[in-house]
Each structure stands twice: as structure tokens, then as C-alpha cells.
Subunit: 205 residues, 2 copies
Amino acid sequence: MVQPGSIKGRYTIPARQGLAVPLAAGQGLRVINSSGTQVVDTWAFPDGDPAAFLSLEHCREVLQRIVFEPGDTLIDNRYRPLVTIAADTSPGGHDTLIAACSRAMYVHAGAGDDHANCADNLTAALAQHGRTMPFTPSPWNLFMLAPVKDGRTIDYVRPTSAPGDYVEVTAETDCLMAFSACPDDVYPTNGGDGTPQDAHVEVLM
Amino acid sequence: MVQPGSIKGRYTIPARQGLAVPLAAGQGLRVINSSGTQVVDTWAFPDGDPAAFLSLEHCREVLQRIVFEPGDTLIDNRYRPLVTIAADTSPGGHDTLIAACSRAMYVHAGAGDDHANCADNLTAALAQHGRTMPFTPSPWNLFMLAPVKDGRTIDYVRPTSAPGDYVEVTAETDCLMAFSACPDDVYPTNGGDGTPQDAHVEVLM
């Protein structure tokens, strides 16, 4: 007999690439920092509304916090519950303030016009599930640390997670979750020597 | 002879309503808190790219700050300069974290399904200039205070501006600026007794 909480499926988010995974209401999902050094840009999109998305500016408004933690229900841009954070074995502090990296960001940083990036990874991952978005929603940057000092200044520091640390969410509605193992090697976004690594996703029963 | 910096046009943003004003590269614009109590949600859209918008998550990334101040150049979602902050006579601290109020927000707050709101004001103001957006970009909430304490928690406090305080920007490119005199009477967003008031915009030579 399958126990509640046991693993139904395990997926790799290859280094520098994206992945999207459908989730049914009530299902759990773990985003695993297998290396301990990898930032995973994370999005969620409820089924049945092509203009709805996990909206960090709406979550910050309702939760009255710039970081989210276990017990928090994250909402879409219509204030509808999308996922609840069930567990977080990492030190937390996952960034909610910084844009997904994009082709334009790497051009702006002098890193060329063909650098892998989270915005294009999102587009490709959504396309595999027949979905498009007309813009890149702000990502929930799991394991990324961009702490705010003195109520004003953003610092960039490398992740402090341990290998295998994970964030677990439970879906509040049928939705598509999307992820990008951030290809950033310009900012101190990813940990270790900054080399992007594989991350993993487990879908629970 | 008209002096540089003199006023070319003055517009009212009526309480609870929106306004959009085209700006040419090099022109200045002042957003005036005429009552001292009014929050003005502010957006900017460069000419010639229907998918581009003033992006707070990109500004925060590059400026490494959650509040913007005179001298800062604000950018669009492609890292292109849009406006530079030329002056700010208010106490500053203009919020960059909280979503525009919307029909859904007032429904969520139990304030009915026909409440005036900044998201619909933006849509109407853009339409008067033949422009649409497929979503509501995060607004630069002028005169709104939502300070971050201890690097985590957002507080909501009423504006501390004086009547006539203004923020002045200079356009870095031809663009359309849009404003909403926030209709919020649910959160302590607007000052005084929370009643929305007229605000004003001056376009400089």
C-alpha cells in the first residue's frame, strides 16, 4: 500500500534548463537542492485561467512579508490560493525581489546574447504543456539569498543550503508548476564556484 | 522666452481615477501630492515595444535597493533606461513591493465587486493612448509607505508627505507614463482619514 507522502515521480531539472510539472489539488511537491549550491527559479500557474500566475507582489501584500515560510499560502494575481508551503529544510530566506535572468540580462552584463537563462527556460517548459505567458512573472527564487539590509539595500550572497535541502509545497488547486535550474554565472546567485548544477523535483502521492 | 524647467502642461489625476501622459526623451515630469495624503501608483512604458514596461524587479536587481531615490535611473524589463529620478521633495521611501489594487483585491477584502481600483485605472488610461497590456505591471507606488522591518516584515503606514510634495523624473526615452490616484480605502495606504484625493502632474519643458 502506498503511504501518503510517498514519492510518485522524480524529475531532474538539468543544470541551466527548465522543467514544468502538473500538480493536482492536494498533491505535494518537493524542490530539492541536490548539490546545495543551486538556485531554482519557481513559478506556478493555476489551470483554467491563462492570465493567472503565482504573483509575488500579491503574496507580499497579503502575507506582509518579503520572505515566505512553512504555513504560508501563496496566491495568484486574483488572490486565489495556489500552493501552501508544507516544509523547508533549508535555511530559508528564498528571494522574492529579483527578476528572472533573461537573454537581456546577460547582454546587459556583457556575457553575450546566447546565454542560457531562466526566462527562456520558463517559456520552453510551459510550451511542453501547451501553455504560454505574454511576460515573465517574477520568480520565487528558491535557495537564492538577496537579503535586505537597513530596510533599503539588497545584498547578493551565495546560497547556504546543504546538499539535499528541499522546499515542499502542497497544491491548493490544480496547477502547473515550472522551474529553472538558474544558469546564472554572473551574479553570486549560485553557490560553490557558481557553476550551475542539476536540481530535482519529487511529486508526492 | 520659456526657461528650461518651466511648466508646459498641468494635469489633474482625479481622486480614484487614472491618467496617462506621453513624455519625450529629455522632458521632465512632476508627480505632485497636492493633498500630501494621496498615493499615486505610477507606471512607464517605452514607445515602440508593446511588451516593455517599467519593471521594479529589474530596477531592484540593478540598483540593489528596494527603494529608489534621486539619481537612480529606472529601467524596463529589457534593462533599457526609462526615466531618471531628478528630485524628490517628499520623505521618500516610495513602495516597490506591493501589487496595484484591483477589483479582485476589493472582493478579497469584502469591499464589493465594483470598487474603483488602480489596475482598471491603468487599463483605461492606456486605452486613451491606444495601448494595452496583458497584465498589470507592479506599480511604483509614489508616496506609499510599506517599510520592511528586520529584513522580513512589511508594515503599512499612512503617507508622511506634506501638501505639494513632488517626485520629478526626466525621461531617458520617449515613453508613456501612467498614474492612478489610488482609490484604496481598505489598507492604510492613503493618508489623513484615508479618503482618496486629487493629485497632479506637471510636464516640464
